[in-house]
Amino acid sequence: MKKEEGELYVRNSRKLYIGFYIMILVLIGTLLYIMYRGKPLHPLAWRMVLSFSLFVIIATEIHRLGNSYQINSRSIVHNHGYFSISSRRLEFSAISDSNVRQNLWQRLFNYGTVEVHLFSRENTTFIKNVDQPYVFVEFLQRKMKNFRGGIGR
Protein backbone atom coordinates (compact mmCIF):
# COMPACT_ATOMS: atom_id res chain seq x y z
CA MET A 1 0.00 0.00 0.00
CA LYS A 2 1.41 3.39 -0.96
CA LYS A 3 0.14 6.72 0.34
CA GLU A 4 0.93 9.87 -1.56
CA GLU A 5 -0.36 13.10 -0.01
CA GLY A 6 -3.87 12.00 0.69
CA GLU A 7 -3.99 9.38 -2.04
CA LEU A 8 -3.88 5.66 -1.58
CA TYR A 9 -2.53 3.42 -4.28
CA VAL A 10 -2.81 -0.36 -3.92
CA ARG A 11 -2.28 -3.51 -5.93
CA ASN A 12 -3.11 -7.12 -5.16
CA SER A 13 -1.38 -8.18 -2.00
CA ARG A 14 1.46 -10.66 -2.47
CA LYS A 15 -0.17 -12.58 0.34
CA LEU A 16 -2.57 -13.80 -2.34
CA TYR A 17 0.28 -15.88 -3.72
CA ILE A 18 1.45 -17.39 -0.44
CA GLY A 19 0.31 -20.82 -1.64
CA PHE A 20 2.62 -20.60 -4.64
CA TYR A 21 5.53 -19.37 -2.53
CA ILE A 22 4.96 -22.35 -0.24
CA MET A 23 5.17 -24.64 -3.30
CA ILE A 24 8.62 -23.20 -4.06
CA LEU A 25 9.75 -23.72 -0.47
CA VAL A 26 8.42 -27.30 -0.47
CA LEU A 27 10.36 -28.14 -3.63
CA ILE A 28 13.60 -26.56 -2.41
CA GLY A 29 13.11 -28.23 0.97
CA THR A 30 12.61 -31.58 -0.76
CA LEU A 31 15.83 -31.10 -2.73
CA LEU A 32 17.77 -30.24 0.43
CA TYR A 33 16.29 -33.21 2.24
CA ILE A 34 17.27 -35.54 -0.60
CA MET A 35 20.81 -34.16 -0.48
CA TYR A 36 20.90 -34.44 3.31
CA ARG A 37 19.80 -38.07 3.13
CA GLY A 38 22.46 -38.74 0.51
CA LYS A 39 19.90 -40.03 -1.97
CA PRO A 40 20.58 -39.78 -5.69
CA LEU A 41 19.38 -36.54 -7.20
CA HIS A 42 18.34 -36.30 -10.81
CA PRO A 43 20.81 -34.05 -12.65
CA LEU A 44 17.97 -31.87 -13.91
CA ALA A 45 16.31 -31.56 -10.50
CA TRP A 46 17.84 -28.23 -9.44
CA ARG A 47 17.31 -26.72 -12.87
CA MET A 48 13.69 -27.82 -12.94
CA VAL A 49 12.96 -26.47 -9.46
CA LEU A 50 14.74 -23.18 -10.12
CA SER A 51 12.92 -22.78 -13.44
CA PHE A 52 9.61 -23.47 -11.73
CA SER A 53 10.42 -20.97 -8.97
CA LEU A 54 11.40 -18.29 -11.45
CA PHE A 55 8.29 -18.93 -13.52
CA VAL A 56 6.02 -18.69 -10.48
CA ILE A 57 7.61 -15.49 -9.22
CA ILE A 58 7.42 -13.83 -12.63
CA ALA A 59 3.85 -15.04 -13.26
CA THR A 60 2.59 -13.77 -9.91
CA GLU A 61 4.32 -10.42 -10.33
CA ILE A 62 2.82 -10.04 -13.80
CA HIS A 63 -0.59 -10.93 -12.41
CA ARG A 64 -0.18 -8.27 -9.72
CA LEU A 65 0.59 -5.66 -12.34
CA GLY A 66 -2.76 -6.32 -14.01
CA ASN A 67 -4.86 -4.47 -11.40
CA SER A 68 -4.35 -1.35 -9.37
CA TYR A 69 -6.69 0.76 -7.25
CA GLN A 70 -6.30 4.37 -6.32
CA ILE A 71 -8.29 6.42 -3.84
CA ASN A 72 -7.95 10.12 -4.49
CA SER A 73 -9.90 13.04 -3.07
CA ARG A 74 -12.95 12.47 -5.31
CA SER A 75 -13.11 8.87 -6.44
CA ILE A 76 -11.80 5.36 -6.53
CA VAL A 77 -10.01 4.52 -9.77
CA HIS A 78 -9.53 0.94 -10.86
CA ASN A 79 -6.96 0.37 -13.60
CA HIS A 80 -7.06 -2.99 -15.29
CA GLY A 81 -4.86 -4.43 -18.02
CA TYR A 82 -1.30 -4.76 -19.11
CA PHE A 83 -0.72 -3.14 -22.49
CA SER A 84 -4.17 -1.68 -23.15
CA ILE A 85 -5.45 -0.41 -19.84
CA SER A 86 -9.10 0.14 -18.97
CA SER A 87 -9.68 2.62 -16.22
CA ARG A 88 -12.91 2.82 -14.19
CA ARG A 89 -13.73 5.67 -11.90
CA LEU A 90 -16.12 5.36 -9.00
CA GLU A 91 -17.14 8.77 -7.75
CA PHE A 92 -17.65 9.09 -4.00
CA SER A 93 -21.04 10.62 -4.66
CA ALA A 94 -22.20 7.31 -6.14
CA ILE A 95 -21.02 5.18 -3.21
CA SER A 96 -23.45 4.25 -0.49
CA ASP A 97 -21.34 2.04 1.75
CA SER A 98 -18.58 -0.50 1.81
CA ASN A 99 -17.70 -3.66 3.65
CA VAL A 100 -14.89 -6.16 3.96
CA ARG A 101 -15.10 -9.84 3.14
CA GLN A 102 -12.43 -12.26 4.35
CA ASN A 103 -12.25 -16.02 4.53
CA LEU A 104 -10.23 -17.82 7.19
CA TRP A 105 -7.05 -17.85 5.14
CA GLN A 106 -7.39 -14.14 4.37
CA ARG A 107 -8.05 -13.32 8.02
CA LEU A 108 -4.95 -15.26 8.95
CA PHE A 109 -2.79 -13.18 6.64
CA ASN A 110 -4.74 -9.92 6.97
CA TYR A 111 -5.83 -9.36 3.41
CA GLY A 112 -9.23 -9.55 1.75
CA THR A 113 -11.86 -8.14 -0.57
CA VAL A 114 -13.46 -4.76 -0.11
CA GLU A 115 -17.00 -4.48 -1.51
CA VAL A 116 -17.93 -0.98 -2.52
CA HIS A 117 -21.72 -0.61 -2.90
CA LEU A 118 -23.37 2.04 -4.97
CA PHE A 119 -26.62 3.81 -4.24
CA SER A 120 -28.16 2.10 -7.19
CA ARG A 121 -27.61 -1.26 -5.42
CA GLU A 122 -27.40 -2.86 -8.80
CA ASN A 123 -23.71 -2.48 -8.86
CA THR A 124 -21.04 -3.48 -6.45
CA THR A 125 -17.39 -3.01 -7.11
CA PHE A 126 -15.07 -5.58 -5.66
CA ILE A 127 -11.59 -4.49 -4.72
CA LYS A 128 -10.03 -7.86 -4.38
CA ASN A 129 -7.12 -9.14 -2.37
CA VAL A 130 -5.90 -5.89 -0.89
CA ASP A 131 -3.53 -5.90 2.04
CA GLN A 132 -5.02 -4.66 5.33
CA PRO A 133 -8.57 -4.19 3.96
CA TYR A 134 -9.86 -2.46 7.11
CA VAL A 135 -7.19 0.21 6.77
CA PHE A 136 -8.24 0.59 3.14
CA VAL A 137 -11.94 1.00 4.13
CA GLU A 138 -11.11 3.46 6.91
CA PHE A 139 -9.11 5.54 4.46
CA LEU A 140 -11.95 5.38 1.94
CA GLN A 141 -14.52 6.48 4.53
CA ARG A 142 -12.31 9.32 5.69
CA LYS A 143 -11.95 10.50 2.14
CA MET A 144 -15.68 10.22 1.49
CA LYS A 145 -16.42 12.14 4.66
CA ASN A 146 -14.08 14.92 3.60
CA PHE A 147 -15.58 14.92 0.11
CA ARG A 148 -19.17 15.10 1.32
CA GLY A 149 -18.29 17.70 3.95
CA GLY A 150 -16.81 19.84 1.20
CA ILE A 151 -19.88 19.50 -0.97
CA GLY A 152 -22.29 20.27 1.90
CA ARG A 153 -20.68 23.65 2.68
Partner: protein
Protein backbone atom coordinates in the same frame (compact mmCIF):
# COMPACT_ATOMS: atom_id res chain seq x y z
CA UNK B 1 -23.64 18.16 -7.07
CA UNK B 2 -21.73 15.85 -9.33
CA UNK B 3 -23.66 13.36 -11.41
CA UNK B 4 -23.22 9.87 -10.03
CA UNK B 5 -21.27 7.69 -12.34
CA UNK B 6 -22.49 4.12 -12.45
CA UNK B 7 -19.78 1.58 -12.63
CA UNK B 8 -20.30 -2.01 -13.57
CA UNK B 9 -19.00 -4.82 -11.43
CA UNK B 10 -15.29 -5.00 -11.75
CA UNK B 11 -14.89 -8.67 -11.00
CA UNK B 12 -11.21 -9.17 -11.08
CA UNK B 13 -10.19 -12.39 -12.77
CA UNK B 14 -8.91 -15.09 -10.54
CA UNK B 15 -5.33 -16.12 -11.00
CA UNK B 16 -6.22 -18.51 -13.80
CA UNK B 17 -2.70 -19.94 -14.01
CA UNK B 18 -3.05 -21.23 -10.45
CA UNK B 19 -4.43 -24.61 -11.44
CA UNK B 20 -1.78 -25.02 -14.09
CA UNK B 21 1.01 -24.10 -11.65
CA UNK B 22 -0.41 -26.47 -9.03
CA UNK B 23 -0.36 -29.31 -11.55
CA UNK B 24 3.28 -28.57 -12.43
CA UNK B 25 4.14 -28.44 -8.74
CA UNK B 26 2.54 -31.83 -8.05
CA UNK B 27 4.28 -33.35 -11.07
CA UNK B 28 7.64 -31.91 -10.09
CA UNK B 29 7.30 -33.01 -6.48
CA UNK B 30 6.35 -36.55 -7.45
CA UNK B 31 9.19 -36.63 -9.95
CA UNK B 32 11.74 -35.63 -7.30
CA UNK B 33 10.46 -38.14 -4.77
CA UNK B 34 10.21 -40.95 -7.30
CA UNK B 35 13.62 -40.47 -8.90
CA UNK B 36 15.36 -40.11 -5.53
CA UNK B 37 13.58 -42.62 -3.31
CA UNK B 38 11.98 -45.26 -5.50
CA UNK B 39 13.60 -45.36 -8.90
CA UNK B 40 16.77 -47.39 -8.95
CA UNK B 41 17.52 -47.26 -12.63
CA UNK B 42 14.53 -47.26 -14.92
CA UNK B 43 12.92 -43.82 -15.23
CA UNK B 44 16.12 -41.94 -14.54
CA UNK B 45 18.07 -43.95 -17.00
CA UNK B 46 15.53 -43.33 -19.71
CA UNK B 47 15.70 -39.59 -19.22
CA UNK B 48 19.41 -39.01 -18.80
CA UNK B 49 22.45 -41.12 -19.30
CA UNK B 50 24.34 -39.05 -16.74
CA UNK B 51 22.59 -40.59 -13.81
CA UNK B 52 22.77 -44.34 -13.98
CA UNK B 53 22.94 -46.90 -11.24
CA UNK B 54 23.42 -49.94 -13.37
CA UNK B 55 24.70 -49.66 -16.89
CA UNK B 56 23.42 -52.14 -19.43
CA UNK B 57 26.07 -53.62 -21.61
CA UNK B 58 25.31 -54.69 -25.12
CA UNK B 59 25.22 -58.34 -24.14
CA UNK B 60 22.50 -57.62 -21.57
CA UNK B 61 24.68 -57.95 -18.47
CA UNK B 62 25.06 -55.08 -16.06
CA UNK B 63 28.05 -53.06 -15.00
CA UNK B 64 28.57 -51.06 -11.87
CA UNK B 65 29.70 -47.49 -11.81
CA UNK B 66 32.76 -47.03 -9.66
CA UNK B 67 34.83 -44.16 -8.44
CA UNK B 68 38.01 -44.63 -6.44
CA UNK B 69 40.79 -42.62 -4.92
CA UNK B 70 43.69 -44.83 -3.93
CA UNK B 71 47.40 -44.82 -3.50
CA UNK B 72 49.59 -45.79 -6.45
CA UNK B 73 50.40 -49.46 -6.92
CA UNK B 74 54.07 -50.37 -7.00
CA UNK B 75 53.69 -51.61 -10.51
CA UNK B 76 50.99 -52.57 -12.94
CA UNK B 77 50.95 -53.42 -16.59
CA UNK B 78 48.59 -51.77 -19.03
CA UNK B 79 48.05 -53.74 -22.21
CA UNK B 80 45.03 -52.20 -23.88
CA UNK B 81 43.66 -49.18 -25.67
CA UNK B 82 42.80 -45.67 -24.53
CA UNK B 83 41.18 -42.73 -26.27
CA UNK B 84 43.77 -40.39 -24.88
CA UNK B 85 46.93 -40.53 -22.76
CA UNK B 86 48.06 -37.22 -21.28
CA UNK B 87 51.32 -36.64 -19.43
CA UNK B 88 52.89 -33.67 -17.71
CA UNK B 89 56.55 -34.58 -17.49
CA UNK B 90 58.59 -34.37 -14.34
CA UNK B 91 61.95 -34.79 -16.03
CA UNK B 92 63.28 -34.67 -19.56
CA UNK B 93 62.67 -37.81 -21.62
CA UNK B 94 63.29 -39.19 -25.08
CA UNK B 95 60.49 -40.68 -27.17
CA UNK B 96 60.17 -42.17 -30.63
CA UNK B 97 57.20 -41.19 -32.79
CA UNK B 98 57.17 -42.95 -36.15
CA UNK B 99 60.71 -42.64 -37.44
CA UNK B 100 61.51 -39.53 -35.44
CA UNK B 101 63.28 -39.29 -32.10
CA UNK B 102 62.09 -36.43 -29.96
CA UNK B 103 63.66 -35.09 -26.79
CA UNK B 104 61.04 -33.81 -24.38
CA UNK B 105 62.03 -31.18 -21.87
CA UNK B 106 61.17 -31.09 -18.24
CA UNK B 107 57.54 -29.96 -17.65
CA UNK B 108 56.61 -30.65 -21.27
CA UNK B 109 53.08 -31.83 -22.04
CA UNK B 110 52.73 -34.97 -24.07
CA UNK B 111 49.41 -36.31 -25.39
CA UNK B 112 48.70 -39.48 -27.29
CA UNK B 113 45.37 -39.90 -29.09
CA UNK B 114 43.77 -43.30 -29.66
CA UNK B 115 46.57 -45.32 -28.14
CA UNK B 116 46.76 -49.03 -28.58
CA UNK B 117 49.60 -50.91 -26.95
CA UNK B 118 51.38 -51.75 -23.75
CA UNK B 119 53.21 -49.96 -20.96
CA UNK B 120 54.14 -50.36 -17.32
CA UNK B 121 53.24 -47.92 -14.56
CA UNK B 122 55.71 -48.07 -11.69
CA UNK B 123 56.90 -45.63 -9.05
CA UNK B 124 55.81 -42.36 -10.67
CA UNK B 125 57.09 -43.39 -14.07
CA UNK B 126 55.79 -44.99 -17.25
CA UNK B 127 58.20 -47.43 -18.76
CA UNK B 128 58.55 -49.70 -21.78
CA UNK B 129 55.73 -48.06 -23.69
CA UNK B 130 55.15 -49.51 -27.12
CA UNK B 131 52.14 -49.06 -29.30
CA UNK B 132 50.37 -47.07 -31.96
CA UNK B 133 48.43 -43.82 -31.96
CA UNK B 134 46.38 -41.78 -34.40
CA UNK B 135 48.03 -38.52 -33.38
CA UNK B 136 50.60 -37.28 -30.88
CA UNK B 137 50.85 -33.78 -29.42
CA UNK B 138 54.07 -32.47 -27.93
CA UNK B 139 53.54 -29.16 -26.16
CA UNK B 140 50.46 -28.69 -28.33
CA UNK B 141 52.20 -29.42 -31.63
CA UNK B 142 50.58 -32.21 -33.59
CA UNK B 143 52.51 -35.15 -35.00
CA UNK B 144 50.67 -37.59 -37.23
CA UNK B 145 51.05 -39.67 -40.31
CA UNK B 146 50.29 -37.75 -43.50
CA UNK B 147 48.33 -40.61 -44.98
CA UNK B 148 46.13 -40.80 -41.89
CA UNK B 149 47.52 -44.17 -40.81
CA UNK B 150 48.40 -44.83 -37.19
CA UNK B 151 51.93 -44.08 -36.12
CA UNK B 152 54.15 -46.11 -33.85
CA UNK B 153 55.21 -44.67 -30.55
CA UNK B 154 57.66 -45.88 -27.94
CA UNK B 155 59.91 -44.84 -25.10
CA UNK B 156 61.92 -46.53 -22.38
CA UNK B 157 60.98 -44.41 -19.42
CA UNK B 158 59.08 -41.22 -18.72
CA UNK B 159 58.61 -39.74 -15.27
CA UNK B 160 55.50 -37.66 -14.77
CA UNK B 161 54.05 -35.14 -12.38
CA UNK B 162 50.61 -35.93 -13.64
CA UNK B 163 49.18 -38.51 -16.02
CA UNK B 164 45.63 -39.10 -17.21
CA UNK B 165 44.27 -41.93 -19.33
CA UNK B 166 40.86 -41.29 -20.86
CA UNK B 167 38.51 -44.15 -21.74
CA UNK B 168 41.05 -46.80 -21.00
CA UNK B 169 40.22 -50.46 -20.69
CA UNK B 170 42.09 -52.52 -18.15
CA UNK B 171 41.76 -56.25 -17.87
CA UNK B 172 42.79 -56.22 -14.23
CA UNK B 173 43.91 -54.02 -11.38
CA UNK B 174 45.07 -55.98 -8.38
CA UNK B 175 47.15 -54.70 -5.51
CA UNK B 176 47.16 -53.96 -1.79
CA UNK B 177 45.64 -50.50 -1.73
CA UNK B 178 45.00 -47.65 0.63
CA UNK B 179 42.06 -45.40 -0.15
CA UNK B 180 38.37 -45.37 -0.81
CA UNK B 181 36.08 -46.93 -3.39
CA UNK B 182 32.58 -45.64 -4.18
CA UNK B 183 30.18 -47.95 -6.00
CA UNK B 184 27.02 -46.84 -7.79
CA UNK B 185 26.93 -43.16 -6.90
CA UNK B 186 28.15 -43.73 -3.34
CA UNK B 187 25.55 -46.36 -2.51
CA UNK B 188 28.39 -48.58 -1.40
CA UNK B 189 31.58 -47.13 0.01
CA UNK B 190 34.60 -49.29 0.84
CA UNK B 191 37.74 -48.14 2.57
CA UNK B 192 41.00 -49.93 1.97
CA UNK B 193 43.89 -49.90 4.35
CA UNK B 194 46.65 -51.90 2.71
CA UNK B 195 44.02 -54.43 1.72
CA UNK B 196 43.52 -56.29 -1.53
CA UNK B 197 41.83 -54.18 -4.17
CA UNK B 198 40.69 -56.18 -7.14
CA UNK B 199 38.97 -55.09 -10.33
CA UNK B 200 38.56 -56.78 -13.67
CA UNK B 201 37.42 -55.43 -17.00
CA UNK B 202 37.61 -51.82 -15.98
CA UNK B 203 36.47 -49.21 -18.51
CA UNK B 204 36.81 -45.52 -17.77
CA UNK B 205 39.24 -42.80 -16.84
CA UNK B 206 42.37 -43.10 -14.76
CA UNK B 207 44.32 -40.27 -13.23
CA UNK B 208 47.78 -40.60 -11.72
CA UNK B 209 49.31 -37.97 -9.49
CA UNK B 210 52.50 -38.13 -7.49
CA UNK B 211 50.86 -40.19 -4.78
CA UNK B 212 47.33 -40.95 -5.85
CA UNK B 213 45.43 -43.00 -8.37
CA UNK B 214 41.90 -41.94 -9.31
CA UNK B 215 39.48 -44.15 -11.17
CA UNK B 216 36.12 -43.16 -12.59
CA UNK B 217 34.37 -45.66 -14.77
CA UNK B 218 32.57 -48.95 -14.95
CA UNK B 219 33.38 -52.44 -13.88
CA UNK B 220 31.65 -55.75 -14.45
CA UNK B 221 29.20 -57.05 -11.91
CA UNK B 222 30.97 -60.38 -11.73
CA UNK B 223 34.15 -58.69 -10.58
CA UNK B 224 32.35 -56.86 -7.85
CA UNK B 225 30.88 -60.12 -6.67
CA UNK B 226 34.41 -61.39 -6.19
CA UNK B 227 35.18 -58.30 -4.21
CA UNK B 228 32.07 -58.75 -2.11
CA UNK B 229 32.83 -62.37 -1.48
CA UNK B 230 36.25 -61.42 -0.28
CA UNK B 231 34.69 -59.20 2.33
CA UNK B 232 31.70 -61.49 2.97
CA UNK B 233 29.23 -58.98 1.54
CA UNK B 234 26.04 -59.68 -0.33
CA UNK B 235 26.21 -58.40 -3.88
CA UNK B 236 22.42 -57.96 -4.10
CA UNK B 237 22.58 -54.89 -1.81
Amino acid sequence: MNEPELIKDSHQKKFSGGFFISLIFIGLFLFLVYTSFYDTAGFTKKISGNFIDAVDKEDGSEQLRIRAELDIPDQFVVDSSARKLSFKLKEAAAISVGTEHIDLEKDASFIVDNFNGRFIVAGGAISQLEGTASEVFVNGISLKDKSGETISISFDELTYNYARFDEITLSEINYAARGILYVNEDKLVMRFNNEPFYLEDYEGNMELGRNYLRLEGKSGELNMQKLFKKYSLNSSY
